[in-house]
């Protein structure tokens, strides 16, 4: 199911990125909050969080990857 896989990939990526920069506890809280949310909300929340914490310039690299995950799944649909 492409929608579910997109959500899983976004959640995995969020866990990995937030865990790397803000610690696993923060990543767990993020996953906990967004586990029942839509991929669009997960993506928006993650971008917002990374831009706020790392700054827009440094977050760019991760945002590119987030958009890639979303794009790959859209094409798979």
């Amino acid at each position: 199911m492409p929608k579910e896989s997109q959500k899983e990939r976004l959640i995995d990526y969020a866990r990995k990125t937030i865990g790397e920069h803000m610690g696993e506890r923060t990543a767990d809280l993020y996953v906990q909050y967004y586990k029942n949310k839509s991929p669009i909300e997960i993506r928006a929340g993650l971008i917002e969080l990374l831009e706020e914490f790392l700054g827009r310039q440094q977050a760019k690299h991760y945002i590119k990857e987030i958009k890639r995950i979303a794009f790959v799944n859209r094409t798979n649909q």
Partner: protein
């Protein structure tokens, strides 16, 4: 309720710093002031170590940044042991240089170096041409100052070779630490206006303050050791440096706590603002 540890840390640091300034400006030879000065001087590195440990705990020990901070904390801990031994010598009215304290001071440098280099290595790895140019210019200028005061001025042909090795090790340690700190400047520049940049800026200024204190100590060490009051004010600069590092670490931990708080409530911060 929003976590407030960041604000408390600033208030506590200001109080300790104000008390230190008063204790050093008092210029009293009474035993109470003497002890107050020495206790406050040793308290400052303790604050930075406790604050560093707090940041490590908030990140979680398995995190890469936490491990970098852990290296910095171990470096500060070694410096703290050095400060305690140094202060004990001063209290006992024994010349503290060279002594076992110097071994701990020098041992602290590699840990601090690893910590700062690891801490500033993430995100984009390579430097742009502008950053490289900035790094080269600032490095050459600062290297000149450090080599002159920390190595050339520190060398005394009248002293035994071991004393000279110890004296020069500080200069070399500071020089290497300075290069690590320059990486941190670039890290901060790249992450501005991201919120992670602020705590690291404070930590950077703390290390820079200690570095300035080291240069001042190298310049006025003989006046310092002879108990000259004006030269003893260098201790206030050291205390300020340690407190700034402590505030930076608490700010870092508080920032993560704040992020966790807002994620728990709203998923991200700005939704609740």
């Amino acid at each position: 309720m929003k976590p407030r540890s960041g604000t408390y840390s600033i208030v506590i640091a200001c109080l300790i710093f104000a008390a230190t300034v008063i204790a050093y400006v008092a210029r009293s030879d009474s035993e109470a002031w003497f002890w107050a000065r020495n206790i406050l001087y040793v308290l400052a590195p303790v604050c930075s170590i406790v604050a560093g440990w707090y940041a490590v705990n908030v990140y979680g020990l398995r995190n890469r940044h936490a491990q970098s901070i852990m290296f910095i904390v171990v470096g500060l801990l070694l410096w703290f042991v050095g400060e305690v031994i140094f202060t004990s010598y001063v209290v006992a009215d024994v010349d503290p240089f060279p002594s076992v304290a110097d071994i701990f001071y020098v041992l602290g440098y590699p840990f601090l170096l690893i910590g700062f280099i690891r801490g500033s290595l993430h995100g984009k790895k390579s430097f742009s041409s502008k950053e490289k140019l900035e790094l080269v210019i600032v490095s050459v200028l600062l290297a000149f100052v450090v080599i002159y005061f920390g190595v050339y001025q520190a060398f005394n042909p009248m002293l035994p070779p071991f004393d000279n090795v110890i004296a020069i090790s500080y200069g070399i340690g500071d020089l290497l630490l300075l290069f690590a700190l320059l990486r941190l400047v670039i890290f901060v520049q790249r992450h501005t206006p991201g919120r992670i940049s602020m705590p690291w800026s404070v930590i950077y200024f703390g290390m820079l303050t200690i570095f300035v204190a080291d240069i001042l100590y190298a310049m006025f060490s003989s006046a310092f050791e002879s108990g000259n009051y004006a030269a003893m004010q260098i201790d206030v600069v050291y205390v300020l440096g340690y407190l700034l590092i402590g505030v930076g670490f608490v700010q870092l931990g508080a920032l993560l706590k704040e992020m966790q708080h807002f994620i728990r409530k709203n998923g991200s911060r700005s939704k609740s603002v």
